[in-house]
């Protein structure tokens, strides 16, 4: 089949593509534009490795402080790190609570049967997409303005963004279920609720749990960053040390973040593989 097609093409070269010349011109134009834009970007971003080397030399003082972390602030940092993890936890739980019920309304296989179902499906999908489009950083800035500096705006920002992410992942795993058991529950005389609760939920529960843990993991890292815009936790503290040029304290914070994030990362990976094997 492919061979026939290929030989056919060879017999009638370019006959089927009268716009080949124009297409070629466009290709060249797009290619050259991309190269030109990249060159411009190098200039605009002042990309210069030499500058980095020079900077490193002048940062000797900073480096000498960084290699001597100040362990006296460890108790305070631990408390703030804990706050960061808690922010991520509450934000993720909030997201799970909202996206769990909504995700069923955003699953094609459950909703496309009726006109009303289609409308609800489209609306919930839209909500998820919009929420995902808002970066947590932007949301955090907004909420800091609304409710003031502290961990609460961070929780709200993480929560809302995660609703979009989890909702999408949850509803996609609902769409991937085996319809057989669902039909069996129907045939047993199950009502609509039972069909969802006994036919769909057991099939998606492990995936839902894995996605949730993964999201918490991501949110811990994100909440450190959110601190920098005033949304509490260790990030906020880190920003203050940077502003006050207290590099040995910055160093302690960095080390702590590195250890905690790595530990939680592998813990969540381990948990998720356990779920996968179950």
């Amino acid at each position: 089949m492919t061979v026939e097609k290929a030989s056919g093409m060879a017999l009638h070269p370019r006959v089927e593509r009268p716009y080949a010349r124009t297409a070629n011109l466009i290709k060249w134009f797009v290619g050259l534009s991309l190269v030109a834009y990249t060159a411009l970007a190098v200039v605009h971003t002042e990309f210069n490795p030499l500058k980095l080397l020079a900077g490193a030399a002048s940062a000797k003082e900073i480096l000498s402080e960084i290699v001597r972390p100040d362990w006296s602030i460890l108790p305070l940092l631990l408390k703030l790190m804990n706050e960061t993890v808690e922010m991520a936890l509450i934000g993720t739980l909030l997201a799970i609570l909202i996206s769990f019920p909504l995700s069923f309304l955003a699953a094609k296989n459950l909703m496309l049967g009726t006109v009303a179902g289609r409308v609800v499906y489209a609306m919930v999908r839209l909500i998820f997409n919009v929420l995902r489009a808002f970066e947590p950083m932007l949301l955090a800035l907004l909420f800091v303005l609304m409710v003031g500096i502290g961990p609460f705006p961070g929780v709200l920002a993480l929560g809302l963004h995660s609703v979009g992410m989890l909702g999408k992942l949850f509803s996609e795993s609902i769409e991937a279920i085996d319809p057989g058991p669902v039909e069996a529950i129907q045939a047993c005389g199950g009502n609509r609720f039972q069909v969802i609760w006994y036919g769909v939920l057991p099939q998606v529960a492990p995936t839902f749990l894995a996605f949730s843990i993964y999201r918490w993991d991501i949110n811990i890292r994100m909440s450190i960053i959110l601190g920098i815009v005033g949304a509490g936790g260790i990030g906020y503290c880190l920003l203050q040390y940077l502003n006050l040029l207290q590099y040995s304290k910055v160093s302690t914070a960095f080390i702590l973040i590195l250890i905690v994030v790595t530990a939680l990362d592998s813990a969540s990976a381990w948990l998720r593989t356990r779920l996968g094997q179950r």
């Binding site: 058991p181 069996a184 005389g189």
Partner: protein
């Protein structure tokens, strides 16, 4: 082609299931059923045979409303079946179904799967909690014992072999305390030896409990061996029915087409 056969009600015994001129056209225009009539009496085991695509699955699924018939009527236990949610729920409580691919919930335990047969009896407030009354649990345990899998009750359903999974499917159906069992190619995904054992076991239980069964079968041999009566379906119509002994080669040619050899 007119319907060749419409089984009269057996003397004095009202039909448990009376299907009259049942038709179904799928939304894409496929005429899967073109008017099938049949009667099942209590304690009767009837097999449906026919080529794949003949409409056997559609027939079974129209009877318990998984597919809404587009024509004809179904009468169960003397009552005409309506297709609203309420009467379907009652109907499906009394008519259990067994599937080719078992349709168990692999993540749940064997016993939980059997308990699914009690869903239509589960009280409202217990529904979200995955909890069942003592009576429901006793019935499920009895059903599991009936198929000889009581020892495996807390295994995950997906850990069982194919034959065992189908026995769980049978237990789930029995737990409904049904009057009629519908089985859609119940042993087609099992190896021939297991298929015979599982089907034999199933038929034995149906007989002991005095239930009726309508079974779609792929293998003519199994139909001959286990049923009281056989129905031949071709292109959405019932083209033959009779006792297993009357299932001769000319009849099989009528059901399966002239190419049939066996």
């Amino acid at each position: 082609m007119p319907n060749l056969v419409c089984q009269p009600k057996i003397r004095g015994m009202p039909g448990l299931l009376v299907v009259d001129n049942l038709a179904h056209t799928y939304p894409d225009g496929t005429k899967a059923l073109r008017g099938v009539s049949l009667t099942l009496t209590r304690g009767e085991i009837v097999s449906v045979i026919g080529l794949s695509g003949a409409g056997k699955s559609t027939l079974l699924r129209c009877i318990n409303g998984l597919v809404h018939p587009t024509g004809g009527s179904v009468e169960f236990d003397g009552q005409a079946v309506g297709w609203d949610a309420g009467s379907l729920r009652y109907l499906r409580r009394k008519i259990a179904m067994i599937f080719q691919h078992f349709n168990l919930i692999g993540n749940l335990s064997v016993l939980s799967n059997v308990l699914m047969g009690r869903l239509s009896y589960q009280s409202c407030w217990m529904q979200p909690l995955y909890s069942f009354s003592k009576r429901d649990r006793e019935i499920a345990v009895t059903a599991l014992d009936r198929v000889g899998l009581l020892n495996e009750w807390d295994k995950r359903a997906s850990e069982l072999s194919g034959g065992q999974q189908q026995r769980v499917g049978v237990a789930r159906a029995l737990a409904q305390e049904p009057r009629l069992l519908l089985a859609d190619e119940p042993v087609s995904s099992l190896d021939p030896l297991t298929a015979d054992t599982v089907l034999g076991h199933f038929v034995k239980i149906v007989r002991q409990e005095g239930l009726a069964a309508l079974i779609n079968l792929h293998a003519v041999e199994l139909a001959r061996k286990y049923s009281d009566r056989i129905l031949g379906v071709r292109e959405g119509r019932c083209v033959w029915q009779g006792p297993p002994d009357d299932l001769t080669t000319p009849v099989l040619k009528r059901i399966y087409g002239e190419e049939y050899d066996g």
